[in-house]
Amino acid sequence: MPSGTKSNPWLISGFLLAVFLLGWHFFTMRPTFDSRGMTEEQLQMMEFNGDIVRTNDGGYTWNPEKEKVKGVPGPLAVLEKARAELGEAFEKKGTNDHGIAYLVAYTVSRFAAGFFAASIVAIMLGILLGLNKVLFRAVNPYIQILKPISPLAWMPLLLYTVKDPKWTAVLVVFMAALWPTLATTAFGVNSLRKDYLHVAAILQLSWMKRLFKVILPGAAPTIVNGLRISFGSALVAVVPAEMLLGELGVGYLSWIEWNNLDIAGVIFAILVVGFVGVILDSGFNKLAGLVTYQE
C-alpha cells in the first residue's frame, strides 16, 4: 500500500525509536558469565565477594543485584523498573516513599501554583509598564538586571526568608516564570496598534472595558509568547529546585534514585520528567489557542 506509507511521520518516529532502543540494548548488554578457564577457588572467591551467584543447574551467573550498579542499564532494566514503579503508582509506603502518581501530582501542582501566580503578577505589571512609557523606562534597568539571574540563585535567600522548603520551591518556579512574561507583556501592550486605542478613546470605553475588550485581547498573542518562554524556564527550574530542597516530586525521584545508586531508576525519572513536560505543554497550547487571533 504505497499511499499508506507515503510520508507518514509516525512510521519514521517508530523506526527511530526502534533503532535507538536496539542500539541502547546492544551497547549496554554485558556478556554472560563464562566460568571456563577459572579454577574452583577463583569461582568460590567471586561468589564470596557477591560478584556471581550459583544457578539452579549448578553453573554460575553474574549477581543481578551487583549488575544494577555496573555500567549503564539497558532498556529492559529500565522497563522492568518502570513496571515496578507504575505498579505501585498510587501507594504511599512511607513519608518519603510515595508512588509515582503522587510525585507527578506534587510536581504539577507546585509548578502550576508558581507559574500561575507569576503569570498574573507579570501580566498586571506588564500592562502597567506597557501603558506608561515613563514608568517603563524607569523600571526597565532593574528588569534587565533581575532577568538574567538564574531562578535557582534566589533559592538560599528565599529559603532563609520564607523558612519553608515547600513554599521556596513554589517561589523558585515563580521567579523563573516572572521575567519573560513581564518583559513581553510590556512590549505587547506598548506596541499595540494605536488605532485600537483610538477607537477605544472615541467610544469612551470605561477603564475596565478598555482593559478587557481592547488591551488584553489585543496584546494576547504577544503575552502568550511570553508565557510560553516563562513556561519553559519554570519547567527547567522545578526539577533542580526539588532536588536541592528535597521536596517530593519527579525531580526528587531522580535524585533519590541516584542516592540509591539505582541508575535504571534515574533513567526512569528522567523519562517521567519529559512525560510531565509534554502533558503540561499540550495543556498550555490548548489554552493559548483560545486567546490568539490572526491579524
Partner: protein, 294 residues
C-alpha cells in the same frame, strides 16, 4: 458661528533632527455647516490627517481650538467618529461584536435586543448580511471598510471624520463603496470632514473641497465649491459641464504644489500667512477661478 469650526489651528512637531520645532500647518481656520460634506486634499505631509485627528481629539494642537455646536470639543468623543484608513477593526472580534461595541458605548441604556436589532440594521445597510460572525481577517479590504462605515454610522455621530477611507481598497470596489457611502449619507446627513488624495472621490462626495499647500507651514489656499447638484452618481457626474473644470482646477493646483520650489509668484503669495483662502465657484465665475481653470 458654524456647526463645526476649527479656529486658528497651528501644529508644531519636534524637529526630527533634534533641535527646535517644525510648524506643520499654521493658522488654519475651517468652518463647516451642519450636514455639509467637506473634503481636504493636499500632498502627503501637509498635515491633513493631523488636522483630522485634531478634530477627532486624538491629537492635540499647539494653538487654536475646535468648536462643535457652540462648545469647545477637546479630547475624543462619541460625537466625532472616525473611519480609519486601515479600518481599525478589532481582529479578535466578529463583525457583529465590532459594531456592537460601538453601539453599546453610544447607547448604554439600550437592552440587548435593541442593540442587536440596531447592529443588524447597519450590517444590512452595508450589505454584509451573512458575515456577522466572521472575523475581519476573513474579509476583503472593501468588506472591512464597510464594517468600518457601519460602525461609524451606527452611533449616529454629529460629525463623521473620514481619514482616506478608501485608499487601501482596489479601484473597482472603491467606486461601489463610494456610492454606498452617498446613499447612507443621504439618509443620515451627518456633517462630514474627509481627507483624501483622490480628486474624483472628492468631487463625487463633497460640497466643498479645501486645497492645502505643502508643509511646513501648510495652509488652506483655496476652497472649491463643487457646483454639481445632488443626487450624484459616478455614471452621471462626469456629464456635468463643471465636472472637468473642477477636476482640472484641482489637479493644476496639486501639480503646481508638487514641485518643492514653487515659482516666485506663487511662493510670495503663499508665504504671506494671513491671506484668507481663495473661494472658487464655477457658477459665480470669479476671474481668479477662470484664470486658474485653464
Amino acid at each position: 458661528m458654524a456647526f463645526l469650526q476649527v479656529d486658528h489651528a497651528t501644529k508644531y512637531f519636534p524637529n526630527p533632527s533634534g533641535e527646535g520645532q517644525v510648524c506643520i500647518f499654521k493658522d488654519v481656520t475651517i468652518k463647516i455647516e451642519k450636514g455639509e460634506f467637506v473634503t481636504t486634499i493636499g500632498h502627503s505631509g501637509c498635515g491633513k490627517s493631523t488636522l483630522l485627528n485634531i478634530i477627532a481629539g486624538l491629537e492635540t494642537m499647539s494653538e487654536g481650538g475646535v468648536i462643535l455646536n457652540g462648545r469647545e470639543a477637546s479630547g475624543p468623543g462619541l460625537d466625532r467618529m472616525v473611519v480609519f484608513q486601515n479600518f481599525a477593526l478589532m481582529p479578535w472580534m466578529t463583525v457583529f461584536e465590532n459594531i456592537a461595541l460601538a453601539v453599546r458605548s453610544a447607547y448604554p441604556d439600550w437592552s440587548r435586543e435593541q442593540v442587536t436589532a440596531h447592529v443588524h440594521k447597519y450590517i444590512a445597510l452595508v450589505g454584509l448580511k451573512g458575515a456577522e460572525n466572521k472575523r475581519p481577517t476573513a474579509l476583503s479590504g472593501g468588506m472591512k471598510q464597510r464594517v468600518g462605515l457601519a460602525r461609524a454610522f451606527s452611533i449616529e455621530p454629529k460629525v463623521l471624520l473620514l481619514d482616506e477611507p478608501f485608499a487601501q481598497i482596489d479601484a473597482l470596489t472603491r467606486g461601489v463603496i463610494q456610492e454606498e457611502l452617498i446613499q447612507m449619507w443621504n439618509t443620515s446627513r451627518n456633517t462630514v470632514f474627509m481627507v483624501t488624495h483622490d480628486v474624483d472621490e472628492a468631487i463625487l462626495l463633497s460640497d466643498r473641497i479645501m486645497l492645502m499647500t505643502n508643509g511646513p507651514e501648510a495652509r488652506i489656499a483655496e476652497i472649491v465649491d463643487v457646483t454639481v447638484p445632488r443626487p450624484r452618481s459616478r455614471a452621471t457626474i462626469i456629464e456635468h459641464p463643471h465636472y472637468y473644470r473642477i477636476r482640472n482646477h484641482i489637479i493644476h493646483f496639486l501639480v503646481r504644489h508638487a514641485k518643492h520650489e514653487p515659482d516666485s509668484e506663487a511662493a510670495s503669495a503663499e508665504a504671506s500667512v494671513s491671506v484668507a483662502p481663495v473661494e472658487v465657484n464655477f457658477e459665480k465665475e470669479s476671474p481668479r477661478a477662470q484664470l486658474t481653470a485653464l
